[in-house]
């Protein structure tokens, strides 16, 4: 198969894959009872009425982990081709990889020193 067909397979796969989880949910609609009432549709919170809105500001720590992750997410994409071509490159490739990883590990060390990784 050529490149176009390989990706056509993925394209069809993405379309078809939705059918399999959707089917049982749709079938269940016909078999299950449907008797909604106000109490049943209430948000579950250990039997008491929920107080205030759920979608509020939350702990900053979660954002920080997200941000630190972002550094590595970008880094990883660049390291994949480096790893693939590694066997054909000379010793310089190792130095380049080392430098690249070092520059980004800097960010991790910085976040660490600034206590961004402390859970408190």
């Amino acid at each position: 198969m050529n490149v176009l067909n390989e990706w056509a397979f993925v394209g069809i796969f993405i379309a078809i894959a939705w059918v399999f989880p959707a089917l049982p949910i749709i079938i269940a609609r016909f078999f299950g009872p449907k008797k909604p009432n106000a109490i049943k549709l209430m948000t579950y919170e250990s039997g008491v009425e929920t107080v205030g809105d759920t979608w509020v500001q939350f702990k900053i720590q979660y954002y920080l982990y997200g941000l630190v992750f972002l550094i590595f997410d970008v880094e990883m994409v660049f390291l994949f081709p480096w790893a693939v071509a590694y066997n054909e490159l000379n010793f310089f490739a190792f130095g380049a990889g080392l430098l690249f990883i070092f520059l980004l590990t800097d960010a991790l060390i910085y976040a660490w020193r600034k206590n961004a990784l402390e859970w408190s």
């Binding site: 796969f13 299950g32 009872p33 948000t43 982990y65 994949f80 693939v84």
Partner: protein, 408 residues
């Protein structure tokens, strides 16, 4: 388009069909076949999981429906189908219904690039490994949307923890994945399997295999890392507001995910379908892959049922202050040793025709380096643990002295 390499396509075209349409139908059949495999396997896997968990906890597990309780899953399915589907009034309906679908799809999509035998693979993408990383991270999104759309405080807390946990553990996962790619010199899944013709990567770089195992275990959100649905803390986390078949889909997605991880471990580190006679008999190759995956799957279950749950701060510290630096060092050390071996002409190119004996020198060196790294690591951890215990002991002693002085 090239039609000749696909049997079904040839058959349809000889019946006078348009080649483009024939190719499309052939691809469609392939897709349906590949999608069905994980979804049928999961029915059996749920039974295996429950039986293994029961045996570890000294129970019998399901044994009433059918022989050895084999039909238990079908009974559960009928139960889930006849349950009422409750959508809470406050939920964001569109996203709420979308999340369970996405969680299954994200896992099933991985199977597009899994090599079953030398000749049977959904599609052998040149960037197979990168495709897996990209698609698998959709699962995180599914759980996040589920938690947010439920409009429930527990569910939202679960979703937060997902962001922290799943996203964090993706870093060591990908760094561990870089090592087999580097050894094979390719991201294509078949290439990675062929590169293990001489020697399984597990014997060259066991540390990476262990890292990938732990990180992928955290990615499924179970075992000691089941904080996203910790029953005793946030009840069920992201799926608290889901009922009936929608809950069933999250459940199924988790089970398929674990088995998919077992298959990926087998492909990346244990030679995939490779075994004696695999090239001549595709069925035998499939059996090898199945056996390897089953053993790894059992270890996943074993870990899940044996270890106690960690705290969220411990979980994140373990990742960011231990696994991430370790996985980076691991990649650099392996890269360095590999380059030296290549310069010294000890390393051999790894491909389908690599001899077992030819790989021994490079395997021994890489293995020794890995053992040395592991040894240093364990020594460091022991040292650190001993120091922490001493500090604890000193504090305790101080407390006793203070209590004594106060006359308590």
């Amino acid at each position: 388009m090239d039609c000749s390499s696909v049997v079904v396509c040839d058959l349809l075209r000889s019946g006078g069909m348009d080649p483009g349409l024939a190719m499309f139908i052939a691809l469609l059949l392939g897709v349906v076949l590949v999608t069905t495999i994980p979804l049928v396997t999961v029915i059996f896997l749920i039974w295996v999981e429950r039986k293994v968990a029961a045996r570890i906890q000294d129970r019998l597990g399901p044994n009433r429906v059918g022989p050895f309780g084999l039909l238990q899953t079908f009974a559960d399915m009928i139960k889930l189908i006849t349950k009422e589907n409750i959508t809470p009034a406050n939920a964001d309906r569109v996203v709420y219904n979308f999340a369970p679908l996405l969680s299954v799809v994200s896992v099933v999509l991985i199977w597009a690039v899994i090599p079953f035998t030398p000749y049977h693979i959904g599609t052998d993408l040149e960037i197979g490994a990168l495709y897996i990383v990209a698609v698998a991270s959709l699962g995180t999104l599914a759980i996040m949307t589920a938690g947010w759309a439920s409009n429930n405080k527990y569910a939202l807390l679960g979703a937060f923890r997902v962001v922290a946990q799943l996203v964090s553990y993706e870093v060591p996962l990908v760094f561990a994945l870089l090592v087999p790619i580097m050894l094979a010199g390719s991201m294509g899944m078949q290439d990675i399997v062929y590169a293990q013709a001489g020697m399984w990567f597990f014997f060259m770089v066991p540390l990476s295999a262990v890292l990938l195992f732990i990180a992928s275990h955290a990615e499924t959100g179970r075992g000691p890392f089941d904080l996203i649905e910790a029953e005793s803390e946030i009840i069920a986390g992201f799926n608290i507001e889901y009922s009936g078949m929608k809950f069933g889909m999250f459940f199924a997605a988790e089970f398929i995910h674990v088995f998919t991880n077992a298959v990926l471990m087998a492909v990346f580190f244990f030679g995939g379908w490779w075994g004696p006679g695999a090239l001549d008999a595709p069925l035998l190759a499939l059996l090898y892959l199945g056996l390897k995956s089953a053993v790894i799957y059992f270890i996943y279950l074993w870990v899940r049922n044996t270890f106690p749950r960690v705290r969220i701060d411990q979980l994140l510290d373990l990742n960011w202050k231990f696994f991430v630096p370790l996985s980076i060092v691991n990649v650099l050390v392996v890269a360095f040793v590999l380059k030296i071996l290549q310069e010294l002409q000890i390393a051999v190119p790894l491909n389908a025709s690599t001899n077992f004996l030819a790989t021994i020198p490079m395997t021994v060196v890489l293995l020794l380096v890995n053992v040395a790294m592991t040894y240093a690591l364990i020594a460091w951890l022991r040292n650190r643990g001993a120091k922490a215990r001493q500090v604890d002991l000193a504090n305790q002693h101080e407390d006793i002295v203070v209590a004594g002085a106060a006359g308590d």
